[in-house]
């Protein structure tokens, strides 16, 4: 009888016998999870393997959820693939992501004291595989949830591209309730994961007075508080740390203390119920972001202008490219393709009126991206081109604060 992954097997090597479960292997070796829990690999040429017992489907333990509490608000959880709950099968070592409300609440029981939940999988994709088209559907789903009476919406998202999706929703939706993005930097299957604290703080914000799209993630490396970031001012600034998300060119909107759940705000924000629910999710996804580097050939721009409807440049310093690029920019804007200038400094405002090159760049028709981050400018440009094809209209949109992405005064 042949053995399959998941079967209990006996492996005989010389006079020794090993008992365990057959595991998947990426080498030629047979990998067994031994009774003591360890995985070990055997060269199949040196051992014989017998079936001990066919694998059995483990019946998931049925669990009682606390009943709907009429005194608590109703919050919707939409999942896009970012995992906020996991289950580990210690028999096989398999880790599975969990998306149902039941599973999330079992993993993070504190959530049940904050709200009633309705959880749904919107996408199940890796963060890096997110596409602008998916923002549109997500925006529609959020819209529908709010319309159906959700007091707040939590969106679980992989952290790599969370800032793009969050910014996109900020442009697409006018919301009278909180729409909160949350994720985890350390996998949900580990006891130290930041998933639970981030989710609890996100639920606190989702049931708070802070209407609008925000990102709620760890504020420091400790489990002491989460920061609440405006969706258009937040950027992932570290590959792996819990406090990777930082507000750029802005203070965070506020913080949620853990475990108390106390919310403190630092900035003005729209209050619950102030705005009418509205959606405007048209976009032009064919936009691109080009980084100017020393020696970069203007052909990059030439290629972009032939293939895209809008271009954001991440220039140096105050927003510069080499003089060699200027005629190409001019040709691009003349062709009706908006070119937005941002800075690779990330922090600070673009200003092309200071140096000669800058003034030439302005004359070539560049739109200054103010204190927008390059990525946010890109998302905004897609959205702006979804609203109008008129380059002057686009310029007006790009230089007007639509969703908190441009601040009038740069504060220290």
């Amino acid at each position: 009888m042949t053995v399959e992954e998941g079967d209990s097997v006996l492996v005989k090597q010389g006079n020794r016998t090993f008992n365990g479960v057959l595991m998947p292997s990426i080498t030629d070796n047979a990998v067994i999870k031994l009774i003591n829990g360890y995985n070990v690999g055997f060269d199949p040429g040196n051992v014989t393997m017998e079936l001990a017992e066919k694998k059995q489907d483990v019946q998931a333990a049925t669990v009682e959820l606390p009943p709907h509490d009429p005194d608590l608000p109703n919050v919707s959880i939409l999942s896009t693939g970012g995992t906020i709950a996991s289950k580990v099968d210690y028999r096989t070592g398999a880790v599975t992501s969990q998306f149902t409300a039941e599973d999330i609440l079992l993993a993070i029981p504190e959530l049940t004291k904050i709200a009633n939940y309705n959880a749904r999988v919107c996408y199940s994709i890796l963060s890096e595989n997110m596409q602008p088209e998916y923002w549109v559907r997500l925006a529609e789903e959020v819209y529908n949830e709010i319309k159906a009476g959700a007091a707040g919406v939590i969106i679980t998202h992989g952290t790599d591209t969370m800032m793009y999706t969050a910014a996109a929703l900020a442009f697409m939706i006018e919301t009278p309730v909180p729409v909160v993005f949350v994720g985890s930097q350390r996998s949900a299957d580990r006891p130290s994961s930041d998933n639970a604290m981030n989710a609890i703080c996100a639920a606190k914000v989702a049931t708070s007075d802070i209407a609008g799209v925000t990102v709620v993630m760890h504020g420091t490396t400790s489990d002491d508080f989460c920061h609440i970031h405006k969706a258009t001012k937040v950027r992932k600034m570290h590959t792996s740390r819990r406090d990777a998300f930082q507000s750029i060119n802005s203070r965070p909107l506020g913080r949620v203390d853990y475990p108390s759940g106390k919310i403190t705000t630092y900035l003005d924000h729209a209050r619950r119920g102030e705005k009418e629910l509205a959606i405007n999710s048209n976009i032009e996804p064919r936009c691109t972001l080009i980084k100017y580097t020393t020696g970069a050939s203007p052909e990059t721009l030439l290629f972009a202008s032939a293939n895209y409807k809008g271009i954001v440049i991440e220039g140096t310093g105050l927003g510069h490219v080499s003089t060699e690029w200027v005629p190409y920019i001019k040709r691009t804007t003349k062709a009706g393709i908006p070119v937005v200038m941002t800075s690779q400094c990330l922090s600070g405002r673009v200003c092309d009126r200071v140096y000669d090159t800058g003034r030439d760049i302005l004359k070539a028709g560049v739109i200054e991206g103010e204190d927008m981050m390059p990525e946010v400018a890109l998302v905004k440009l897609m959205w702006a081109l979804g609203q109008t094809r008129d380059i002057d209209e686009v310029r007006k949109i790009m230089t007007t604060d639509m969703a908190g992405e441009i601040t009038r005064s740069s504060r220290t």
Partner: protein
């Protein structure tokens, strides 16, 4: 050693689990050094909570559940020698090849045939001792053995794992850990339960320790090796005693655990014949103590209560000694302390602690105790006291059935105290951030077995003429450095050394010639003295002196650039200026061979002038003459060197004149 028990007849089964830190350059999963730090040197601190991960199986481990009950904050101390990997803020790097290689060498020493592919696993540990909530561990081999006087003892497990963070302080609702230790590579060696007597346990531990030290690449010193002992007797239960740091204790630990199990079995029989039972009713007797003279109870009553528990049929047994100085009551107390109380009282030891005979009588009456019952009292905050007595109920019920399976903490006197229930099967799943390692035949074949310590010691005595003590210490403690010096410094040719010894006497002052005894005694004696001095004065840190410094130092001495008398002074100078060239240091100090010869001549002159005094005083003349010698050099030569030379010259003169 005459023993109290016939261990064979009792059916003693014992196994050891030995954890030994490896002396690798980097940690197991990051590039940080494997050095331990003072907590005061911590430059950063953060805190976390841990929560158990949900399991597919839905089962809850008893030990994990007890740990999870306490929602503690874990505070971590970080250093300029730790990184984001220790902080659980960055994925681990690949498994340290140096550590894996060393583990394969250890596998060979234990007659093991490692698996063809090994995997880093995550073993769930949620007491905060690992920032991640799991310990990374690799099973490298099973099925080995070592030879002992009682035959082969199986070595069932060889794991390579990361050490946990060091527990610095326990507070009421937080625990402080130091991250310097987390991630240091560790081998875990588990023997089969083949150990037959306490003395055998000690022998097995010593043998494994010797094999590990023979590699020359394991850490030395307190806390670098930790031993757990598993013990059971035929009618008893498996008990794991953790954290035995001293080898000498292993034998006593086993003896006293056997004694404990024998006594607990006897208590069980007595209790059964007394028809003892544990109804478990907890009675509030606070009002009986309104007028008490007991200071302990008065203090507790300021904010708390006194609760009582009747144990029918337990009288006399709770106060019975089961290990030297420990009673069944002590075991009750260990359990009770888990809920935060300081301890318990039981009527087998009362009246005492200011609790009077009358107090005891009224309490007995209040709980309806009969003769033959034992009553337990706890005075503390109400929920703590309640929790404490519930734990006593649990332990008392176990006493009726025999011996509970437990993890216990080894105590310095060879006893042990309750820590937690034995953990269930380890909860493990793969560490997906670390690729597996394929162990090839070539890798195994290329690993050479080290010379074992006893062999090496014998060789040093025979070939290098080291005395037994020096040979033993150098072979086990300074092996790598010693070998490096005697191979890299050309003047220390072992065969020349041997013949020099045959010829007998020589003086290093006459020729720049040095031998391996000088090297060995520098490493063993001089360094020990300097280390003590540096700990007292903090003028220098002797650990700043690295192996290349020693090589340069002895090269300099061989070439006559410095005299052997100045070794201690030079070492201090190097420790203070590790970046400087040794030759320059010696030149600057003017302590070359030539200079020493000048000093010797001057010293001899002084001795000649005072020869009568020297003959009269003998070696006692050193002190008085030292003043004159010092005056001669007016601080240009360190006093230590002058006194060494003076002593040597006076001795020589006294010997020659006899």
């Amino acid at each position: 050693m005459s023993s109290k028990y016939d261990y064979k007849q009792l059916g003693l089964m014992s196994g050891l689990e030995i954890h030994q830190q490896l002396d690798t350059k980097e940690k197991l999963f990051c590039g940080c050094p494997t050095t331990l730090r003072d907590v005061e040197d911590s430059n950063f601190e953060f805190f976390r909570y841990l929560r158990p991960t949900r399991s597919e199986m839905g089962e809850v481990d008893r030990a994990a559940a007890e740990e999870a009950m306490l929602t503690k904050q874990f505070v971590y101390k970080a250093y300029d020698t730790t990184c984001l990997v220790e902080n659980d803020e960055e994925p681990p790097r690949e498994l340290n090849p140096e550590a894996l290689n060393l583990t394969l060498q250890i596998a060979k020493l234990m007659n093991m045939d490692p698996f063809d592919e090994v995997f880093t696993m995550r073993k769930i540990v949620i007491d905060g001792s690992n920032t991640s909530g799991f310990q990374r561990t690799v099973l490298v081999s099973t099925g080995g053995y070592i030879e002992t006087s009682q035959g082969k003892v199986g070595v069932g497990v060889l794991c390579l794992e990361e050490d946990a963070a060091q527990r610095v302080e326990d507070k009421v609702d937080s625990v402080i850990y130091s991250l310097d230790r987390q991630g240091i590579p560790l081998v875990e060696i588990g023997t089969d339960p083949d150990i037959v007597s306490p003395a055998h346990a000690r022998e097995v531990a010593e043998t494994i320790g010797m094999l590990l030290r023979s590699t020359g690449r394991v850490k030395r010193g307190l806390g670098t090796i930790r031993q757990d002992v598993n013990i059971s007797i035929a009618r008893g239960a498996r008990v794991e005693i953790k954290g035995v740091q001293a080898l000498d204790l292993i034998e006593t630990i086993v003896e006293q655990e056997v004694e404990r199990q024998v006594n607990l079995l006897d208590i069980m029989e007595k209790l059964q014949s007394n028809n003892a039972s544990v109804p478990g009713d907890i009675v509030n007797v606070t009002n009986l103590f309104n007028q008490t003279q007991s200071k302990v109870i008065k203090k507790a009553l300021k904010r708390g209560v006194v609760l009582a528990l009747d144990l029918p049929g337990f009288a006399g047994q709770v106060g019975r000694e089961i290990q030297p100085g420990r009673r069944l009551g002590t075991e009750f107390s260990d359990y009770a302390k888990k809920s935060g109380v300081g301890g318990i009282f039981h009527t087998d030891e009362l009246p005492a602690y200011g609790i009077t005979e009358q107090d005891v009588d009224t309490v007995r009456e209040a709980v309806g105790a009969r003769d033959g019952d034992c009553v337990i009292l706890v005075a503390d905050l109400e929920d703590r006291a309640q929790g404490a007595l519930q734990m006593v109920v649990e332990r008392a019920r176990l006493a009726l059935k025999g011996i509970p399976e437990e993890t216990r903490r080894g105590l310095p006197d060879g006893n042990s105290a309750y820590m937690r229930p034995l953990p269930g099967a380890a909860r493990m799943y793969p560490e997906t951030d670390v690729p597996s390692e394929v162990i090839t035949r070539d890798m195994l074949d290329s690993i050479e077995l080290p010379e074992l310590l006893p062999e090496r010691k014998a060789r040093y005595m025979e070939e290098l003429g080291l005395n037994e003590e020096l040979a033993g210490i150098v072979a086990s403690k300074h092996l790598e450095l010693f070998e490096k010096i005697i191979t890299e410094v050309p003047g220390i040719n072992p065969t020349l050394v041997a013949s020099a010894f045959d010829n007998g006497k020589h003086s290093a002052l006459d020729t720049p010639y040095i031998d391996s005894t000088l090297v060995a005694s520098t490493l063993v004696n001089t360094l020990t003295k300097l280390r003590r001095e540096s700990e007292l004065t903090h003028d220098f840190d002797i650990d700043e002196v690295e192996s290349h410094h020693y090589v340069d130092l002895f090269k300099l001495i061989v070439s006559g650039g410095a005299a052997k008398e100045v070794i201690p002074v030079l070492l201090i100078e190097i420790a203070q200026n590790p970046e400087k060239d040794i030759e320059d240091i010696a030149k600057k100090m003017g302590l070359g061979q030539k200079r020493i010869e000048d000093i010797e001549r001057s010293v001899e002159n002084i001795i000649n002038q005072r020869i009568d005094f020297v003959k009269e005083q003998g070696i006692g003349a050193v002190g008085p003459l030292m003043g004159e010698v010092m005056k001669e050099f007016r601080g240009s030569v360190p006093g230590k060197i002058l006194s060494n030379i003076l002593k040597e010259k006076i001795e020589a003169r006294l010997n020659s004149s006899e």
